[in-house]
Symmetry: C2
């Protein structure tokens, strides 16, 4: 399902073959695909004798500590390079403080990404919206370049595939995705362990927060919603200051629910809102109207507080989505 | 990874080719692999012109209603047949009331199963403990017999693969499992929808019960446990009378937890106990000692009540498992 112009692939390969010192950058607030494609690429290019510096503005979450080399990812783009490779980032701004215009503007940038929103900001752009993940694209690159996939590379790329498909549960999972995962397992990747570490494990705190959220959840018609006020976090003595502990993704798994919403009160008083919908319903329009974004099945936005105002603004619109579907 | 004697495969194929009227039986309390392998086999053999009667002592759970033909599964083995095919059942007793000795004892039985505990009770036994599921074995059978995989067959077999691997999360998932899933997708199987319907969706009631269980859960050292007394179900007005709503599987996902236990008070006062362990810990010995069974990572047993006695009997043993690991 590779759709990029074959010349772009050939050009990308040419840049990589000629490069000696590569600055590899992935996006701020890195997720599993950001870290996985960055490390998979780094290990592979090093096996070809390249000097590679993997970087990300924000340090990876400790849940990815099982990945070889994750602690060597630098938070600075300083140094001498002859090529920049951007991984899983749709535009230059998403590379954050790593990209230093004064030093990097003269360098060619090769872009690997699967986001359809990619701005094609590189001198070469390998952008494959049909791929499950940037890791799936890096796998295709390594196949093309004849790189031997080691278990470290396999586990890095599996991490990207697993996290971006929620272990093959999302609609971006294609037969090709399964073929890539199969090949990575055959090269020594540990699918079960990657899934456990990257996707399943969480803190006991977050389980208690999930429990409290489920107990507080309300069902109005086919709309389920719950609030997570700051004082709930304080009562439960939860250490993590953000997030909904998977509450909105859990609410949408109920037969009785077509649309789910969770309202999280942030430190600054703003309300972060996560929306989910069953197939056939579209919550992305509501998120867009309110200054957010996303997909029909999963979207979000942030509104000013207090909680009650945000709830009163969003619920009527969601009920309308259900009525008009 | 097919290990059965090639002659057994050839014999099984011979019986199927010669048969005119097949009684296909799967085990009592059917899970996704029971239903999936039964329906996949039925559709496929009918496409070869065979008369097939799919049966199961207990009616399938409504969550499987998306499968073509699921409502035509009969709860009786009466009729004229020249061959019995047993699917996903490790012994004759697991076929329940469908197998009527007076009528069926003279008929040849062909067995397809992936349980290592299979008693090889057929005239031919295709038993593949390395397969993720009986559905994976039926896929190999259909490949062998040159059956065209329709979307209905694909969705049935995907159901077995997905439910027996928890969507590729368990240790029985091999590269071959992914290859089969990929092929089934290419034949029109809808992986996302099968996963959603067979594995993810649940009642809003069960979410509230899960929430209450998580709020009540206790962490003692690296042991997490929770109780679900009958009165909690009554307070929450939960309709389903059994099960732990996924509570023990959720507790074991916490970083802080090596072993998890959930105690469910049954209608008759007995206490059903579910046990889970992180890799490196073994709860099956405790379950065995108490008259239950299972695997190192997932086991269970039933003890007499009251709740407190069962809890006091099991917790010290689990703490010992953690200490001695």
């Amino acid at each position: 399902m590779i759709v990029t112009d074959p010349r772009a692939w050939a050009d990308a390969e040419g840049y990589l073959r000629r490069a000696q010192a590569i600055l590899a950058i992935t996006h701020v607030s890195p997720d599993g695909d950001a870290i996985g494609s960055l490390l998979g690429f780094t290990h592979a290019m090093r096996s070809l004798g390249k000097l590679v510096t993997p970087t990300c503005q924000d340090p990876p979450h400790p849940r990815f500590d099982y990945l070889k080399g994750v602690r060597d990812i630098r938070q600075s783009g300083e140094g001498e390079f002859d090529l920049i490779v951007s991984l899983d980032s749709s535009d230059l701004a998403r590379l954050g403080s790593i990209f230093i215009p004064a030093q990097h503007s003269r360098l060619p940038v090769v872009v690997f990404d699967h986001h359809i929103t990619n701005l094609n900001f590189g001198v070469v752009n390998v952008v494959e919206p049909g791929a499950s993940s940037t890791s799936e694209i890096i796998y295709a690159l390594l196949q093309r370049m004849g790189v031997t996939i080691t278990p470290d590379i396999a586990n890095a790329l599996l991490t990207g595939v697993i996290t971006d498909t929620l272990a093959f549960r999302t609609s971006n999972t294609t037969p090709d995705t399964l073929a890539v995962a199969m090949a990575l397992m055959r090269s020594g990747g540990n699918l079960q362990e990657v899934t456990r570490q990257a996707l399943i494990m969480r803190s006991f705190d977050s389980l208690r927060l999930l429990g409290a959220g489920l107990m507080n959840a309300k069902l109005e018609g086919r709309l389920a919603y719950a609030t997570i006020p700051r004082k709930l976090r304080k009562e439960l003595d939860v250490k993590e200051e953000r997030g909904d502990a998977g509450l909105v993704s859990t609410l949408i798994t109920a037969y009785e629910v077509d649309v789910a919403a969770v309202f999280v009160e942030l430190q600054n008083g703003d309300i972060e809102i996560g929306l989910r919908a069953q197939p056939g319903f579209d919550v992305s329009q509501v998120a867009l109207e309110l200054g957010g974004g996303g997909h029909p099945a999963a979207a979000g936005c942030t509104l000013p507080g207090p909680m009650r105002d945000a709830v009163n603004r969003v619920l009527p619109r969601l009920k309308q989505v259900i009525r008009e579907a």
